[in-house]
Symmetry: C2
């Protein structure tokens, strides 16, 4: 196939006419498809229904230290759940608090706590004139929504295949005392599926922040969410690296089982230094008497240990992998060599990131929507929903069935072509 930029105006016009015809035909099908959010498919959830059988009326609901999971107590989680979640991210159980059903909630509360009470004795952020967060882009919309709601200024940091641009990160963090945090999805990043390189993690650990209350918000959402058994990314464990570098308190790490068992009915955890956890617990103990210990126990009984959990994730991969590959196949077949878009090929996580030509993302998403295919809103992967190049589109292939996915992706590439042709014609 020839690149669009090499086509003559007449060729482009003919192409446009043909694409428009195809688009009208597609529209006539009255599709109703959703590729917008990183949700597991019902078929994935069907496979793990036995999770709901491991605890019943005949179960002994005592923890290994004798606590009755049916009653109040144990603010920071049952010991065996701490161990399980610690093993998930490769840290020690004593560095972990197990919380409720959503790691997003811990992240929000961690920012809120810093706003109201500061960080380990620092001035509460709400008392400061200016608080800034670095935001690797494209990134996760719900992270940006938290910092936006608290009025924290967000600064875009371009992502590379090795993680955020660390020259920029070091410059901001080490020189600007109003920079208080950075949002990271270090493994199979949302939406690109990139994993931070060892060098990136080490450079993070060796930051010399101008602000003593600077923290890395390390959202390890996809830590065991592999698509392939024979090739997966390895992420260096950051807590140990920070300690080695003399920055033991610099990172909060988050994880959950939202995409391991059931979204909304999983458990979440935060890992950090003892000093940070103790500070967190001072507010947690006022905020709640404790999280759902029965559900923590349900997770432990179901997986037994981290090996069981990783084994379980292979079942998810079996459903997800063909979907990712189906989307990638269509992108390759239809767009390769046209010079109108690039995309990532993740080995894990929940997304594929697509970059259209500058100024085309909104139009593509809009055109898809008109024909009944909902994508994540263009711009959503950037702070303030503003993609400066209007180029990035997040594709979430997991929720639709394979059949729906094929139809949705066919429509997507059609819209990419159509909007791109129009762009060339306007030049």
């Amino acid at each position: 196939m020839r690149a669009y930029k090499e086509l003559s105006e007449n060729e482009l016009l003919a192409l446009k006419e043909d694409l428009n015809k195809q688009y009208e035909e597609a529209k006539a099908k009255g599709l109703k498809l959703d590729m917008s959010r990183g949700k597991p498919a019902p078929s994935q959830l069907d496979m793990e229904m036995d999770f709901l059988d491991v605890i019943d009326s005949k179960s002994l609901l005592k923890t290994e230290n004798g606590t009755d999971c049916r009653n109040y107590g144990l603010l920071d989680g049952i010991p065996e759940a701490k161990k399980l979640m610690a093993d998930m991210i490769g840290v020690s159980a004593e560095n972990v608090i197990v919380c409720g059903n959503a790691s997003l909630n811990i992240m929000y509360d961690t920012v809120a706590r810093s706003m109201i009470f500061g960080v380990l004795g620092s001035t509460p952020w709400c008392k400061l004139d200016k608080v800034k967060f670095l935001c690797p882009v494209p990134g996760y919309d719900r992270h940006f929504a938290i910092t936006e709601q608290f009025g924290i200024e967000m600064i875009n940091i371009p992502m590379t295949k090795d993680g955020p641009d660390m020259d920029l990160v070091e410059k901001y963090v080490n020189e600007d005392p109003t920079v208080k945090g950075i949002w990271c999805v270090p493994k199979y990043s949302n939406p690109q599926g990139y994993t931070y390189s060892d060098e990136t993690v080490k450079r993070f650990a060796n930051l010399r922040p101008a602000a003593e209350d600077f923290r890395i918000f390390w959202d390890n959402a996809y830590v065991i969410h592999e698509l392939y058994e024979d090739r997966s990314d390895e992420l260096l464990e950051i807590l140990a690296e920070c300690t080695k570098a003399g920055n033991p308190d610099m990172v909060y790490e988050f994880c959950s089982t939202s995409k391991v068992t059931f979204p909304g009915a999983g458990i979440s955890a935060v890992a950090s230094s003892k000093a940070n956890l103790d500070f967190m617990k001072k507010t947690m103990t006022i905020q709640t008497i404790g999280y759902d210990k029965i559900n923590q126990l349900r997770h432990v009984r179901y997986f037994k240990n981290i090996d069981g959990m990783k084994e379980h994730m292979k079942k998810h991969a079996q459903v997800m992998r063909p979907k990712f590959e189906a989307v990638l196949r269509v992108l390759e077949r239809e767009l390769e060599g046209l010079g109108i878009g690039t995309w990532t090929e993740p080995k894990g996580g929940y997304f594929i990131s697509f970059d259209a030509m500058e100024g085309c993302a909104k139009a593509i998403v809009e055109k898809c929507k008109e024909a009944g295919v909902v994508l994540t809103g263009a711009g959503a992967t950037y702070p303030y929903k503003r993609d400066p190049k209007d180029s990035n589109i997040r594709l979430a292939p997991t929720f639709p069935s394979s059949e729906e996915l094929a139809m949705a992706t066919d429509l997507f590439v059609l819209c990419v072509k159509l909007v791109s042709v129009e762009k060339f014609l306007k030049k």
Copy 2:
């Protein structure tokens, strides 16, 4: 029995010697008993283990509106859980958001939200020089801990059998714009077990707050927690009263199933006006993707409806009632007529409130502890843990077994006598 104040010094000395001997004997038993917290007993929890059977791998986990409870979605709760929780407190389902496992968490977040974002467009409380809350006393220590942590000044309001002293409440609320809230446990109050009278509820609803962002924090924790089938307190429903009085936005009501199913593994809810709920949802939608819908569904399937829930509460009452009565019997038998203490006789809830002579509560709790019986800390029922009269002690009869309870209460009355005798001797 003669009142202590009528005893001569010699009689008091002889009594003291006798009591001391009894106390040393009791101490020698090496008791290890806990009457400190309002926790259900294991025998109560044993009775409801079948709660864990209603959802298993064969269950259809769809809500009545077709939402898959196993996946993301439905921020404000599944419709049937909204209905159940609404019926629990006698409001409409559209006035309810169903949340996670702890109503305390909603209360904390509601105060935190007001601190950071204000109330329906008012100035955030953290920007104000002074924020005050009214605290009916004695009251619930975890309420006071929330307002204390946020640096909110707490003002004691004496409780009566009909609820808080409403003359004082009206004076503060209607005249002082820095008074932003009041903590209430309107039914079977913690710790006295008093229920607000209709007149009290109406006077609440008809407040004319000096502060537009004043809110009543109506913690209806014991709304269906009756001890008797044939005599229970009735509480007027406050949302409707507030609406009638032209104050539709003035109240947040909280409830949970923490003491209906399993503490820590229950569900909670907040009820309020549409305007308040919409405002809450603006932050909630950033804070979480949604609460545990499977556990919401588990509650609905177990109870079917509010009648089922109330029927279930009778089982709890059967275990709890004899314990309350055992404590009351000992108090009556041992202390009646001595003039050294008064106590409440609740028809529901989780506590009995005991008032010792002024200046005696701390010493009594300390003496009990020395002999192996842990009570709620003296002062805990007051803001800043300061009981100005050092008189109130909260008794929590539910957790120990009947046998333990008898021993604990015997020791308690012994300590009350001993400390009281010492007080008379010092006079």
